[in-house]
């Protein structure tokens, strides 16, 4: 039971508050009666449960109980797949009354164990809420159910010459509701900004089942507190997002990309400076992959490799994308940049390749986007998605590798690769440690080591993937006590019974 009631809260000092909330309120498991109740609300195809009377085989629940990396495993007995906001509301209200934990689940591509029950909570999958509600081709405002898959939204608005303001490697599975809940960054952030800017409105089912309708399509609406912002990036801990209104930009009329091979990491920053200066408004991505990440992408068939000659002597690669309104204009700028780069007295790059067709454009992108997938094929990944100053990217990767070596863990039966890649343009490095298998020794060698390194740079322990259950203990490296106490207070206001995604985000 909760140790502090809402009315007593303001008088409790922050520090005490924190201690009090450390004990989670006790929650009830789903039992047969609950299944009975869900069956009254939902059609039979929308309830999957090992409990009777549904009695699905346990294997039917595997995809909901295991995360994308195969790292986290839940024990949910039951998954519900409502089709409407009303159905979501009825389910959540029942769970509120019965104090059953609820894990909202989108495409289950999250990388921090946020979408998987810690124990036997109810999984509420948004997969069946997959209708576009409206699209206005003049304003570009798209209103969609939270369960719409990102790629299908991209396809939906493509004929209207618009694109989604975000794009990420998981686009074929992740849902817009999941993206909003994790405040996903991805490959277009550099150009179109974060979801905090592009999301115009949300429809949310609050933990007691109340429907919060803030699904406006207004670009400007300064009428008091902007509540929707709280749900963006809250990872399902404050409510279930059921509808999203989002501003989509017009599709660029021309896009190009090029992969540049660099002799050393130190050249990345001067290159970024030059590229920004020369391409200015048409620059839409500046992505970094180190040599190891590149080799893994190629090894696991992600995009066609560059020729041996082109990769010779390359320490790392940068993918530059341009998007603009007029092809001739963009190409002129890009050509000028490439000439400058090749003719420089002290060249920043060894060489590079420029895509000549949409097929090559996709292939070059696949070398970058495919890194996440290649890593998962190579072994078990410890993923640290951190923000650190650009200048320290390489030091963090090399430092981690040396640290593991000093612990005797850098060998084929323990850690195989230490890899760096990411969104240089946003100061976001993905530090990945690929191991033969997950082990307590590696875990102990990496944490708190990595978090301390991040804190020493005043960076973020989670730039875009979120906290989930993986990093609750590390939240304090990036958020001070005052902030964490306030976050807990907000959680308490929305969810005093603690049923929404319990054990996630807050320590």
């Amino acid at each position: 039971m909760l140790a502090v009631t809402r009315s007593s809260l303001p008088r409790v000092p922050w520090r005490v508050c924190r201690a009090a909330y450390a004990t989670a309120p006790s929650l009830n498991p789903v039992i047969e009666q609950d299944i009975h109740h869900f069956s009254k609300i939902l059609p039979s195809t929308s309830v999957v449960s090992t409990l009777s009377p549904v009695a699905s085989p346990a294997s039917d629940l595997d995809q909901f109980n295991n995360d994308w990396m195969g790292k986290y495993k839940g024990q949910a007995t039951t998954v519900v797949k409502p089709k409407s906001t009303h159905e979501v509301s009825q389910i959540v209200r029942h769970c509120w009354e019965r104090r059953i934990g609820v894990v909202p689940q989108g495409g289950n591509t999250g990388l921090v164990g946020g979408s998987i029950p810690l124990k036997d909570e109810l999984v509420l999958s948004l997969a069946n809420m997959n209708k576009v509600r409206s699209f206005d081709p003049i304003s570009g405002v798209l209103v969609a159910d939270a369960g719409c898959i990102l790629q299908s939204l991209t396809d939906y608005i493509a004929p209207h010459n618009h694109i989604m303001p975000l794009d990420l490697g998981a686009k074929g599975s992740c849902q817009i509701g999941g993206n909003v809940s994790t405040n996903a960054g991805g490959l277009r952030l550099l150009r179109y900004g974060s979801l905090h800017g592009t999301v115009l409105g949300l429809e949310v089912v609050l933990p007691d089942g109340t429907i919060l309708d803030q699904l406006t399509t207004l670009r400007k609406d300064n009428t008091g507190y902007d509540l929707k912002q709280l749900f963006i990036g809250s990872e399902g801990t404050l409510g279930v997002i059921t509808g999203v209104s989002i501003l989509t930009p017009p599709a660029p009329q021309a896009s190009n990309n090029v992969i540049l091979a660099l002799p050393k990491f130190d050249n990345v920053l001067p290159l970024y400076k030059l590229v920004k200066q020369q391409l200015s408004e048409i620059l839409s991505a500046f992505e970094f992959i180190d040599r190891t990440a590149y080799e893994l992408a190629v090894k696991h068939g992600q995009g066609r490799a560059l020729s041996d000659e082109d990769v010779r002597g390359a320490a790392c690669f940068v993918l530059v994308e341009t998007s603009g309104g007029r092809r001739e204009h963009d190409e002129e700028k890009l050509n000028h940049l490439l000439e400058t780069l090749l003719e420089a007295e002290k060249p920043l790059i060894n060489t590079g390749v420029l895509s000549q067709s949409p097929a090559q454009f996709s292939s070059l992108w696949a070398l970058r986007e495919g890194v996440t997938e290649a890593i998962s094929k190579e072994g078990k990944a410890y993923k640290y998605d951190i923000s650190v100053p650009l200048s320290s990217f390489q030091d963090v990767v090399d430092g981690t590798r040396e640290h593991l070596r000093s612990k005797g863990l850098l060998n084929d039966s323990a850690v195989k690769h230490v890899i760096g890649y990411g969104h240089v343009g946003d100061g976001n490095l993905h530090l990945n440690v690929v191991a033969e298998s997950y082990s307590p020794e590696i875990q102990a060698a990496l944490e708190p080591y990595v978090y301390e390194v991040v804190a020493s740079h005043r960076g973020s322990v989670s730039a875009e993937h979120g906290i989930g259950s993986m990093k609750t203990h590390a939240l304090h490296y990036s958020k001070d006590e005052v902030s964490i106490a306030l976050m807990k207070k907000i959680k308490e206001i929305f969810d005093p019974r603690g049923i929404m995604n319990p054990g996630k985000v807050l320590p």
Binding site: P43, E339, L342, A359
Partner: protein, 271 residues
């Protein structure tokens, strides 16, 4: 029209600018053709042809004297030639047609290519073309006959749908593995030869930045059909272009009984 005596190969690679294969084709409202205001790139089979010519040079070294790319098309086709040059062709010829002109038909293209080949052999004993490598078809009109027509017009050997090409310059001989129904066939033919490429022949390279820069300085000749004395007027008239009928989406049924009922409704009977 004998090939060069000095045992050096001159290769001609015809390439076409086509609507990119990743683009969704839309018929224009007048139903006279398709919306061409979309991304174009080099016809993928031609890209394979350029790649094969470049690989032949990598293997045969100095025995390949020249690789010339040629295109017949509107002004923007010059970009396709630039790509061919960046991939490794030495020089380019653009037979330019007006932006609004209809796309030339295979026979007209074959005649134009013949004119270029004749022009080459007149230019000197050692500049005659020995090998023409081109795509087996262009993905826009899918006609797939230019190579064969050219071989017919010139009376040269032809090796179509190639998945492997070996050339013995001394013997003036090409060994080609061709894709045929249910397998492959190996043939040997005398040079000069027309080879058309199939998908499995190779995987074309990316254009590297240094080669793109170099390509800008390579010889680039512009001609018109009149310069070559050929007539590109189409002999076919397109009456109407339509989209294939839309696929009707399937539906989900809840129970087996419902499925059976639906099947009956659709007139499907038990046997």
């Amino acid at each position: 029209m004998r090939p060069s005596k000095a045992c050096l190969l001159n290769i001609l690679v015809p390439v076409k600018r086509a609507v990119d294969y990743a683009v969704k084709i839309r018929v224009n409202p007048q139903q006279t053709g398709i919306d061409t205001n979309v991304k174009h790139s080099m016809n993928p089979f031609d890209e394979i042809a350029v790649e094969e010519a470049v690989r032949l040079r990598e293997r045969l070294k100095d025995q390949v004297k020249s690789i010339k790319a040629v295109t017949i098309g509107p002004p923007k086709s010059s970009e396709t030639l630039r790509t061919a040059l960046a991939m490794g062709a030495d020089s380019a010829i653009h037979v330019e047609i007006p932006e609004s002109a209809p796309s030339p038909e295979p026979l007209a293209v074959a005649k134009t290519l013949r004119a270029i080949i004749e022009r080459q052999s007149k230019a000197g004993a050692d500049s005659g073309i020995d090998v023409v490598i081109l795509g087996k078809q262009a993905i826009d009109d899918d006609l797939g006959m230019t190579g064969q027509m050219l071989a017919g017009l010139l009376g040269w050997s032809q090796a179509t749908f190639a998945s492997k090409v070996e050339i013995d310059v001394e013997k003036k001989e090409a060994r080609v593995i061709r894709e045929i129904d249910g397998g492959s066939e190996e043939i040997k033919c005398r040079l000069p030869v027309i080879i058309t490429t199939d998908l499995r022949l190779n995987e074309p390279r990316y254009a590297t930045l240094p080669s793109i820069m170099k390509a800008k300085k390579k010889p680039f000749e512009k001609l018109t059909a009149a310069d070559l004395g050929v007539d590109l007027t189409p002999q076919l008239e397109t009456i109407k272009v339509t989209e294939p009928p839309k696929r009707v989406g399937g539906g989900k049924v809840e129970t087996v009984d419902e499925l059976v009922a639906k099947l009956k409704e659709a007139g499907i009977k038990a046997v």
